[in-house]
């Protein structure tokens, strides 16, 4: 049975659709209302609040904390200043990606790792010989994602104007003003929506007080609670991969071809090869030399052709409002050269978007491919063009 997160008393009351799913062993709201558009437009026009507590969270502390993380992950952390947050992935010994997540440097000797999959064993396995402690705080620290163009306005009254100078991908300790007192926590300027936004971290026992405080502050700004379905559309617009959907974590793969390297996932920019030893380094050096065989890319499905296929049947195209995770083949000159793993209609961009894995020769932006679409139980192919990601990248995200 799934567990309740610390916010469950609030989220379960607000969730009139009763649409929940399981996320990392916890109950998570898919959408609060039967009608999902309100949440989507609140995210892109106002602000939304999402319970992100099910994320796995680990505190890595001690004199060798940075050394351990540099050894486990594809980049080094030694030179990072306190407050820096990094997006990073980590690999198995063969250089295949296990997971991706964030690492926040909260103190000189204190980092916090977030991940989609459990990572305690992997961190501990690598910690032998390091003066470091790894603590699973997944079920002790509650998390909220406050995202959208008005997120700063909503949060400022609660944590103070220091927020205004917090740069993109930075963390800061805060005191949340709640019900006449204040409680401690951390705010990071991070998120999974590709928009301006913050993630709020706090102890479980303070969770409800912070939640109430944020919802109250957000009322005049049109803040709405948001579920995972809208997040899934937003992250496709932002070009963010989802472990277990767009790639299979190496330790869950049954066969080799299901595994992916950081280069295949477009994580090239994260990998720092020329440094001390880290897990997967040799394999990654080899792959760097030859180049990856496949690439994860963004693809735009041609709407006019998609519509034309439906028109042949006298139909009007209909796309589910949630992201489809059904794998679909991609073709070039009649030969399959890849597959789509996430497909979503962007109400904002009016585009039908997909995240796809293709043979490297077809990964350059502008490459014309074909994607399979099923209409009236028949298979058809329509034009699909490789596009740079993020598809949606507003200035406010960094400003």
């Amino acid at each position: 049975m799934a567990l309740a997160t610390p916010f469950h008393p609030r989220t379960s009351e607000l969730c009139t659709s009763l649409a929940f799913k399981e996320w990392a062993g916890c109950h998570a709201v898919r959408r609060y209302d039967v009608y999902q558009d309100r949440e989507y437009y609140a995210l892109r026009n106002q602000a939304t609040l999402m319970d992100a507590s099910p994320l796995y969270k680990y505190d890595v502390e001690g004199p060798n904390a940075a050394d351990l993380l540099g050894r486990v992950m594809v980049r080094a952390f030694g030179a990072h200043e306190v407050g820096r947050v990094s997006y990073v992935c980590w690999c198995d010994d063969q250089g295949k990606v296990l997971d991706d997540g964030t690492v926040a440097k909260l103190g000189e000797r204190h980092f916090r790792v977030t991940s989609a999959e459990p990572a305690l064993r992997w961190l501990e396995r690598s910690s032998r010989g390091f003066d470091v402690s790894v603590t699973d705080v997944s079920r002790r620290i509650a998390a909220l994602a406050l995202q959208g163009p008005l997120a700063r306005e909503v949060l400022r009254p609660i944590v103070g104007s220091g927020l205004d100078t917090l740069p993109f991908f930075r963390a800061t300790p805060v005191r949340y003003a709640v019900k006449g007192t204040d409680v401690e926590g951390v705010v990071t300027r991070t998120g999974y929506t590709g928009d301006l936004g913050y993630e709020l971290w706090m102890r479980n026992e303070d969770a409800l007080a912070v939640y109430d405080s944020v919802m109250e502050s957000g009322r005049p700004f049109g803040l709405l609670p948001m579920g995972l379905d809208v997040l899934d559309v937003a992250r496709v617009e932002a070009g963010f991969l989802l472990a277990g959907v767009d790639y299979t974590p190496a330790n869950r793969a049954f066969i080799e071809r299901q595994k992916s390297s950081p280069y295949e996932l477009g994580f090239d920019w994260m990998v720092r090869l020329d440094r001390g030893p880290f897990i997967g380094q040799d394999a990654l050096r080899r792959e760097f030399a030859t180049g990856p065989a496949r690439r994860l890319v963004g693809v735009e499905i041609d709407w006019d052709e998609f519509e034309a296929v439906h028109e042949r049947f006298g139909l009007i195209p209909y796309i589910e409002t949630a992201t489809s995770r059904e794998g679909v083949p991609l073709y070039h000159d009649g030969r399959q050269v890849g597959y789509a793993t996430s497909r979503a209609w962007s109400p904002l961009l009016k585009k039908y978007l997909a995240l796809c894995t293709v043979e490297s020769a077809y990964a350059a932006p502008g490459t014309q491919l074909q994607i399979e679409v099923t209409c009236e139980y028949e298979r058809h192919r329509v034009k699909a063009t490789v596009r740079p990601t993020p598809f949606f990248d507003p200035e406010r995200k960094r400003a």
Binding site: V34, Y35, Q46, G222, G314, I316, P317, T321, K350
Partner: protein, 532 residues
């Protein structure tokens, strides 16, 4: 007199269609200049802070049909387009009952069944039928109209394709289409529904922007235009633009500038220069003369040809046809700044106020409103379409305060005293609107901080809309498609060579759609292709 460098095209009027046309031309690498007479861009799709702290969508107040392909082509979301969907349609009734239609069909069924279980059951079927019809109409609004009298082979192919497209329909559909083309909105709805409370607010879609009543033949067809937004399904284009309707125009202007267009405000045009039957440039109100290979007018046909070009440069039959093109503005607008949220007696709270609110309690009420207008006065109890965009957009009013936008029909341009006497009637017109609202919101007067009243006369004077018609000419069947603005000139060209028309007075007509501007640009660039 200063003579400037030559442009590939000068666009007269910075409304949303003129800007769209300019953006497409600039994107194709053309040197484009947009000239707007007012201090703000947008034309009738404009946001203005008329009263400190409150931003009004002064004229156009909802974005219904902005074409998804234009949003894609011009990457409008990148340039600041932010849409907020309308969540509901609320009908308050004088007897204390009310009906709200929601985006969630189950909720709507529940509401409608309180008035008629029959109608509640039938609504999905009606929507399906309208969507099927809309499927036939959409290719028409998204491409230039074929000209039926043309002997040009490519035109004939287009016509044939479109004909075949229509033949695909079943007998049912053909019958339905014929009905839509000929019936009144009310007769058409009568064939489906029984509840007056459902039919009355639905029927008004058939009269907006026309000087017809809900019982006038031909109005059924205009209903369909309203369903186009729903056919867009996943597109869901019915909504508010954040920051007001001007947000749409500003996003298009940003795109146009990004592609290299130059845009000037407070640069009114006095004259479009014509030499040897060819447009060569414009003369500004300040006397400056600007040259261009092409001139595009985003203004309506009358203003363009009789205001800027002059009858002396036009064939007589064209001038005659132009004089027959009907404007007959029939609506006014009242914008209010409110100190708090208006409370409707029949249903307190605000959940049902986030969409549009219709004062249309019965069909007789609407027809009576038309009767008065027919004989030259504004309706004593008009149809009012109210929106409170500040409920979902915090950028347009201070916290806790609201903007109330009221579209009012009928306010005929030709009142019996003569249109020029509208200014003397403006206050009375505004009071009538507030009196009407007061019947549903008793404390409305206590909330009003500021009031802006626009009569059809004002819309003509301030926004250049001839006879105050919000669509650059009535949206009636005889003025649509290959007859918009007139037979023979429905493809953005004009009798003056290199002078083009890009406003709502061309196919496919009015609304914040962008199609006339985009299709005009494509015609100029020769990229419209042959497909229908």
């Amino acid at each position: 007199m200063a003579v400037s460098a030559r442009y590939d095209a000068i666009v007269v009027g910075g409304g949303h269609n003129g800007l769209t046309c300019a953006a497409y031309l600039a994107k194709a690498g053309k040197r484009v200049l947009v000239l707007e007479r007012r201090h703000v861009l947008g034309g009738a799709a404009v946001s203005e802070e008329v009263f400190p702290g409150f931003t009004y969508s002064v004229c156009s107040y909802v974005v219904s049909l902005l074409r998804p392909w234009i949003i894609r082509d011009l990457e409008l979301s990148r340039f600041g387009l932010e849409m907020i969907p309308l969540e509901s349609s609320f009908l308050p009734l004088p007897d204390g009952r009310s009906m709200c239609r929601w985006a969630d069909p189950a909720l709507t069924r529940d509401e409608v069944s309180r008035f008629s279980r029959h109608d509640a059951e039938l609504m999905p079927e009606f929507s399906k039928a309208m969507s099927k019809i809309g499927r036939f109409v959409r290719p028409i609004i998204d491409s230039p109209v074929p000209v039926p009298t043309s002997m040009n082979p490519s035109e004939l192919v287009r016509l044939l394709k479109l004909g075949r497209h229509f033949q695909d329909a079943s007998v049912d559909m053909m019958e339905l289409r014929l009905k839509l083309l000929t019936m009144s909105a009310v007769d058409f709805l009568d064939e489906w529904f029984e509840a007056e409370e459902l039919k009355a607010p639905m029927s008004v879609s058939g009269i907006i922007g026309t000087f017809l009543g809900v019982r006038s033949p031909g109005t059924a067809y205009v209903l369909l235009h309203h369903y186009m937004g729903e056919i867009d399904g996943a597109f869901r284009s019915w909504g508010f633009s954040r920051g007001g309707t001007g947000g749409v125009s500003n996003a298009i202007a940003n795109a146009a500038r990004h592609f290299g267009a130059e845009i000037r405000t407070e640069a009114g045009v006095r004259e479009i220069l014509v030499k040897g039957g060819r447009a060569t440039g414009v003369v500004l109100e300040n006397g400056d003369e600007l040259r261009a290979a092409h001139v595009v007018s985003g203004c309506d046909p009358r203003r363009t040809f009789l205001g800027f070009v002059g009858a002396e440069h036009l064939p007589q039959e064209f001038v005659t046809a132009l004089s027959r093109y009907r404007f007959r503005g029939s609506s006014g607008k009242v914008n209010l700044a409110l100190d708090g949220l208006p409370e409707f007696t029949c249903r307190p709270g605000d959940a049902h106020l986030r969409g549009d609110i219709a004062i249309a309690p019965s069909i007789d009420y609407l027809e009576r409103a038309y009767d008065e207008a027919k004989y030259g006065s504004f309706s004593r109890r008009p149809y009012i379409n109210i929106v409170l965009p500040s409920l979902v957009d915090s950028t347009i009013a201070p916290p806790g305060k609201h903007v109330m936008s009221c579209f009012v029909q009928y306010a005929p341009y030709e009142i019996s005293e003569g249109a020029e006497h509208w200014p003397e009637k403006r206050d009375a017109f505004g009071e009538t609107v507030i009196d009407t609202i007061e019947e549903y919101v008793p404390n409305i007067r206590d909330l009003i901080l500021h009031k802006q009243v626009l009569t059809p006369w004002d819309m003509e004077q301030e926004f250049g809309l001839s006879e105050g018609n919000i669509f650059h000419g009535e949206l009636t069947l005889d003025q649509l498609a290959f007859q918009r603005p007139m037979s023979g000139w429905a493809r953005y060209r004009t009798p003056v060579r290199n002078l083009w028309l890009a406003g709502s007075g061309t196919h496919p007509g009015g609304g914040v759609m962008g199609s006339p501007g985009a299709l005009c640009a494509r015609a100029m660039l020769g990229t419209n292709g042959g497909s229908g």
